[in-house]
Amino acid sequence: MPRAGRICIVRQSMAVYGNFTKRSSTALNLGTIVRSFIPCSLVAAMALQLAGCGNRDWNNPYPESETNQNIHYSSFFERPKHLDPAQSYSSNEIEFTGQVYEPPLQYHYLKRPYELIPATTTEIPKPIFVDKDGHELPANAEADRIAFSIYDIHIKPGIRYQPHPAFARDVSGAFLYHALSPAQLDHIDALADFEETGTRELTADDYVYEIKRLAHPKLHSPILGVMAEYIVGLGEFGATLKSEYEKLEKAKGEGFYLDLTQYPLEGASVIDRHTYRIKIKGKYPQLLYWLAMPFFAPVPQEADIFYTQPGLKAKNITLDWYPVGTGPYMLTINNPNREMVLVRNPNFHGEAYPSEGESGDAEAGMLKDAGKPLPFIDRAVFKLEKENIPYWNKFLQGYYDTSGIASDTFDQAVRFDAAGEATLSEEMRAKGIRLVTTVQTTTSYMGFNMLDPVVGGDTERARKLRLAISIALDYEERISIFLNGRGIAAQGPIPPGIFGYREGAEGINPYVYNWVNNVPQRKSIDAARQLLIEAGYPGGVDPQTGASLIINLDTTVSGSPDSKAGLDWLRKQFKKLNVELVIRGTDYNRFQDKMLKGNAQLFGWGWNADYPDPENFLFLLYGPNGKVKFQGENAANYSNKEFDALFVKMKNMDNGPSRQKVIDQMVEIARLDAPWIWGLHPKEFGLYHAWFRNAKPNHMANNTLKYKRIDPELRSQKRAEWNAPVVWPLWVILIVLVVATIPALVTYRRHETRVER
């Protein structure tokens, strides 16, 4: 037993002391040894006891009181910049805001393809289309007839906010902490220092308030630009707020509250206590996906008033660091320098674990908790862990419940079987760890700058050159060498899991691949060389110079061995065509500048899905999104009139055969023009300990903590089994040190004797 083990060690150390004490009366030099040894031993023993004080596992980084508790342990690599739902966008931020805030909609946890379901609403809102005169149009009206789409969103009554001091009131009903005095602030260092908390019901005003916050002049919402294109009046509303804020700032100085409720916004209005309306320009079905993001989560006005107090800002107590929501968890400790702790929200309105999923979920045990109330986990502790090695070792010791796999630990964790399938190594299997792999809704590609005179443009010469390079770059090899097989070669811009992606023979890029034996096979290098001849570069020779054609790759260079090897591999791929690849390495800032100015020729880029709609990938090739001309996300500056026209048509269509047909046409155009070397879609490898249940990767949902379950008893048992302290090497080291001092002592005695003579 672990605890008994500790007692044994104490006894062992006492026995060692006893032996040396016994001998001390017989030998002078050994007496010196003992005198030096005992303090060393005591220090070592005390240190060890202190380290293990009260813990069964000495290396347990968590307090003993947390053993056997229903706590999920995870980590974060860098501190989140923003937890204000109007500002936070990064995945490391949404990991927290997603558990605290509840936007009106959410994704079904288990079903694929991804499906939206209500979160706080009674149903998925259906738009009403009206023309420019305000007349209602049928649901299947042509997009160009639709002037506005009106979404009436009904929220469930009775939903309450987490306990929070912003809601606390005194007996007279006045807010306790909305006008904090310096004396009150003296005793406040964290949100937990407020003695009183309160709550109230979620209302439609809170959702409208948050939409208005997107345009707040002091918040920098990353989606303001996008939303201003769609939400009626949001751009003008932002301008109004800015001028009003400047006026008030001149009068009041910094740190005042700007009451957004005083300024009407046509595109977002309250209908009744539990209904609000969003008015959109034209037709924009993707709005529903945005409604599943924290940008559209409710923010109570009381919280904004509370946090705007300057005294709190100086202590880093702001809405940006202490969110206030109705979700299953509340952030009680936010020390982004060390740890962040989510605790079950006692006021959570309740929700049940899904009772249906995709095929295979029931067999995988994902439906065992069907219908049970959420959330399952009481607390989630996130520790700052900046380096991979400590994180990985802690995972193996059982101190983190889940882990990804870094390149340097891949061989330790994963083996490929004869069929090429990834399986766990013996060591991982012995620990009961599970491996779950999924292809991410991400695309990582190399783009040609279509404004470049050599590789760009819509000439046949440039197109064939791009295609030849696309064939020559063997992405299957790249995935195998540099990603340990964690990815699939892309056939187009749309990754698996997104509507529009096609599997099998009909999904391959026929300009780069052949369909052979039921798998895509990259065309031979001879096909690429032939294309190069047709492009006017026979044997890879540029006729203008008489030397090998030179292609410049602009990239950020990290200087790591992996990065260097990757670039060497790229040069080798181009060498197959006798084309010289010149790497123009630079820092990220310079790279961004080059991209904005169109100074790159070939570059690496990527995109993570915001929402599971093909529009979110195909817009990366839409002409009016060109980076150089319009500062958009079309980094290749690709422009094809036919593609652009189809994009406008496709983006407003509902998923179905007609939309699929349009997408197929668009993908075909893009494949033929080859503005990108389509690259790869990364595969996520997740490792889960046996005690961590209901884990199913969901690349769209960000509120998945509530579905997870922990078996704390099993975890404690395994931790004790894996982390029994090993102390005998310490005694060996001590003995070696003691033995090593004996010749020194002998020398010392000789020296002293010589001096005395």
Binding site: P61, P222, K315, N337, E387, P390, Y399, P725, V755
Partner: protein
């Protein structure tokens, strides 16, 4: 002495202005306000308007060093450099570019840095002096020879090796302490043992060699020969005379680093998950947060100057022949 200290403080002002100017120049050679805005706004859907708004709100919409559009002294005053620098001299660090109060963060994080730096300094000092005395005592013997060889070997090994090796051996194989992490109060002890051991061991090579040189130099002096001639034992000579006089350069060397202990260690804090000021600075550089970078460089310069002044003062305390005038 008061005059001397006041003079040194006055000298410090142009030095700090220079340091601030160099930091500013180096930072903006690599980063532009547009890059900073992009970094803080995220990489998706960032519009030129959003970038302009961010720059305006954070005071990066003005010329860097010279505003030729305005007359008189405003040419210098109405610039990013002046506006961002002048408050530093009142130790008003303001907010980081992501909105957190820097002073609050520094006050919170310096304790974690000190929690490692002070034990490493004290324990390291004791161990280094002990080993240096031992090696000096056995000078010209195999202990001296192999001791110096060992020191050179230990000096040659990268600090990263000690960290990763220590984590592997002590935490992963022996399961004696947590691999990384931090806590406050008594709970902090179990997290500090390993970084302190690693810090001490990593410093032994250089420390012992330096102190050994100091002790050997002292042992060759006349007063030591006199002490031996008086019939004092070697141990007494070593501890009563050599150690006492050898401590003068050691202690003054320690005094100069005392203030900078606040600044923490970049690699140690990063690997052990210690939320100190070392990792604060490196995070700020990575996220292009100029507000934190300039505050930390300024603070580091001030502390270094304070350290030098304290060193001068400590000389007068340990050596009565020195007077500050």
């Amino acid at each position: 002495m008061i005059n001397y200290i006041l003079r040194r403080i006055a000298y410090a002002i142009p030095i700090l202005i220079g340091v601030n100017l160099i930091t500013f120049t180096l930072f903006f050679v690599v980063n532009s306000p547009e890059n900073m805005a992009r970094m803080h706004l995220g990489m998706k859907h960032v519009t030129p308007e959003a970038i302009d708004k961010w720059k305006q709100d954070h005071g990066y919409d003005k010329p860097l060093l010279l505003n030729s559009a305005v007359p008189g002294s405003a040419k210098v005053i109405d610039t990013i450099f002046f506006e961002k620098s002048v408050k530093l001299f009142a130790f008003d660090f303001g907010d980081s570019d992501d909105g957190r109060n820097i002073r609050h963060d520094i006050r919170q994080r310096m304790w974690a840095s000190l929690a490692i730096a002070i034990p490493v300094l004290i324990v390291g000092l004791l161990i280094n002096i002990t080993f240096a005395l031992l090696v000096a005592f056995f000078r010209a013997t195999y202990i001296d020879l192999w001791g110096v060889v060992l020191c050179v070997v230990m000096m040659s090994i990268s600090g990263m090796f000690y960290i990763i090796g220590g984590q592997y051996l002590i935490s992963k194989l022996l399961h004696l302490v947590p691999i990384s992490g931090y806590d406050t109060g008594v709970e902090a002890a179990k997290f500090l043992i390993l970084p302190v051991i690693v810090g001490v061991i990593g410093g032994i090579g250089a420390g012992v060699r330096w102190y050994r040189t100091i002790f050997l130099e002292e042992m060759g002096k006349d007063y030591v020969r006199t002490a031996r001639a008086k019939g004092l034992s070697e141990v007494r000579v070593l501890f009563r005379h050599v150690l006492k006089n050898g401590m003068i350069p050691i202690l003054t060397g320690v005094v100069v680093v005392l203030p900078t202990l606040f600044m923490g260690s970049l690699i140690t804090e990063s690997f052990f998950g210690i939320p100190g000021l070392g990792s604060y600075t490196i995070d700020a550089i990575n996220s292009q947060d100029f507000a934190i970078v300039r505050a930390m460089v300024f603070l580091g310069s001030v502390l270094y100057i304070v350290g030098l002044i304290l060193t001068d003062i400590s000389y007068t305390l340990v050596d009565p022949r020195i007077r500050l005038g």
